[in-house]
Symmetry: none
Subunit: 406 residues, 2 copies
């Protein structure tokens, strides 16, 4: 049993005054650039992160398991100490909770992309030219005219070209394949049951396909948004809250809805913030006194990594570093700095590489780690460990865990 | 499955002539002192332990799981390769077995503290001024007069202010909360069932509360020992023995009853010894020829750590180091040196920090570890691993395990 599961199973958590900040730099782990031989973190000038590394202890985390590349949702569940294999969370549910919807457990959420269909019926752009959220909202309003015989629904914009549909009521199944063909140039798929002889899944597939059919009629003349794709059919997931599991009053500071969705799944309060790291620091300073635990998310490192933009990823790391004193000045009892996964700019995608981590706390030991980087953290006193154990370490260092056993 | 569980499950253990010593220095793991920046182990002059570190391989062990602070009993089960989460052991059972009682599986053991109650009914000293064991024995004799309607019992001194009661017979439940309020200044609690609608637990609670009531009457005028507290209701646990699991004839050398209790749970012979490390070395030399495996326990490092006495912990480590040649001269095939958990003197309590470990054996590899310390062992060839895997490593190095699988 991993330590994050031992805590609730044996009632180890204590209610104390101490405070924990978990700083998650999305996709921060990198790889050496072929020119310099240095990773993004090794290239960035980060005096403040390095000072943390020198005063704390380092290690490397595995988000799911060695060699396994995670999605952001499951990687975040791990960071919060919830086993992402046991707690299956679907994209639709993350999206719905991320924009503040509270679907009933029997409702079915699904992520919708506005997309461009060419004359041959193939999807020429799965992201419809990355339309702005305002246009997305207008399109959702149009799609609310869809009439389904035997089920109610809501549709709401998420961000850019992404929306979310929630089908309401009983007898809906999440055992459905996506309509999204996964790459441009292919026709969309029909939504089909993933299992055979399942009347609920067959009914839900019919409902979804009828929704898509009517949406295409409504959007027919509105290229580049003349079609929609559906992915990630999922019932909402409400996990035991961080207060129940860890006795923590927890708040989330993040700029993208999906991260807020996972945060809501574990019962965190969402602290409203702006789109820049400096805005998030404002939010942190404003709410710090009211929370035991704050999850602070930096998104743009991951986007730069996915774009293969090494220099931009370096720049964002340096921007964060320059703002870090605003966080350390709050003097949390425990500060953990890590990422949800690696997104090496040379790889242009999420990867399986373990993620550097630094923990600073009064009661931590010391090690020889001199900088926040992949190579330095590989030598750290914390060794390599599953991301699901971070919370136990943080709680222990905050003196928020009682002794196990006689 | 961890390796210690694979061994019996796949019958991997071999009966050989080789010998293993497991030296457990209680609470040996420490933290840097704010003055010197060194831990207790880094401060102590330990030429003999360091020579072992240089000739063997090092690592760090996690007694239970990352971030989890263990009690000594469960930490020892781990060291012996038994999963402490699956095998719940209660304080009462450890105490009873520790003094050589052999309760039947249906009997119920509970640890008793003699305690001081003030005029208001609050417990002013949960340890009754730490009375000597001789006085404890006299008080136990008095309490044998207690008359319970429907159950027989024994009461015996353990050490200092600690005694153990064993209620005899069927229909007794261990699902009871302690009467010990856990800190001075509070009134004792009534013993109450931990579950509702459980007639056995209700009956046992009545028996325990009646015992406490009569004990207070008998002790009324005997301040500072005018009350008792009960904690750790538990049926005895008899695990598969080390002979059954590992094909080892195992002996235990320890000065405190609780460690002998855990040793008895796994079928070790108890080798009588005196209170000093030198006495334990005498016992080791005397019995070494007769055993395959000897568990050798040093207690006072933990006590010094809990007292926050950094220098005393250093002194005891040095005392052990000076006596170590008597152990190494026996030339065991495998010598493992570690602790059951960390008790940093700066923290004054058991902690979650992983514990340094050195293994020396003919067949071990080599690494760069130069000293027995937290920092050095963090760089060791054994890496970080659960304490439950130590026995498999020791047996392998003693050539006492056969190959797994085709």
């Amino acid at each position: 049993m991993v330590s994050s599961e031992l805590i609730p199973a044996h009632n180890l958590a204590l209610d104390r005054d101490s405070k924990i900040i978990l700083l998650v730099i999305d996709g921060v782990g990198g790889r050496p650039n072929s020119v310099s031989g240095r990773t993004e973190l090794e290239t960035a000038r980060t005096p403040n992160l390095d000072a943390l590394a020198q005063s704390g202890v380092g290690g490397l985390i595995h988000p799911i398991a060695r060699g396994v590349t995670p999605g952001s949702g499951v990687a975040h569940l791990s960071l919060f100490g919830y086993d992402p294999i046991r707690h299956a969370i679907g994209r639709g549910a993350v999206a719905a909770l991320g924009i503040g919807l509270k679907p009933a457990p029997e409702d079915l959420a699904v992520r919708v992309n506005f997309a461009t269909m060419d004359d041959s019926g193939a999807i020429s752009d799965r992201r419809a030219g990355r339309i702005p959220t305002e246009r997305n909202a207008e399109l959702c309003e149009l799609l609310r005219k869809i009439q389904l015989d035997d089920v109610a629904f809501t549709i709401d914009p998420v961000k850019d070209y992404r929306a979310v549909v929630v089908f309401k009521g009983a007898d809906l199944s999440e055992k459905l394949a996506d309509s999204d063909p996964g790459q441009n140039g292919l026709p969309p798929r029909l939504v089909e049951p993933l299992v055979s002889d399942d009347p609920k899944a067959e009914r839900t597939a019919r409902i979804a396909n009828e929704f898509i059919r009517q949406a295409r009629e409504i959007l027919r003349d509105l290229a580049p948004t003349n079609s929609i794709l559906m992915r990630g059919f999922a019932h909402p997931v409400y996990l035991p809250t961080m207060r129940e599991v860890y006795k923590l009053k927890a708040g989330a500071i993040a700029t993208y809805p999906d991260y807020l969705g996972v945060s809501r799944m574990v019962g965190m309060d969402i602290l409203p913030t702006g789109g820049e790291i400096a805005d998030e620091m404002n939010t942190l300073e404003q709410h710090y006194a009211d929370y035991d635990f704050i999850y602070f998310h930096v998104k743009k490192t991951d986007s730069a990594g996915e774009d293969g933009n090494f220099d931009e990823k370096v720049r964002i790391i340096e921007e964060l570093d320059s703002l870090l004193p605003r966080m350390t000045k709050l003097q949390p009892d425990v500060l953990v700095v890590t990422g949800d996964h690696s997104t090496p700019a040379t790889f242009k995608a999420h990867s399986w590489h373990p993620v550097p981590l630094i923990l600073t706390a009064k009661w931590s030991r010391r090690d020889s780690v001199q900088a926040f980087s992949e190579t330095e953290c590989a030598q750290g006193a914390l060794g390599q460990f599953p991301a699901t154990e971070i919370m136990a370490l943080a709680l222990a260092n905050a003196e928020r865990l009682t002794k196990f056993g006689a």
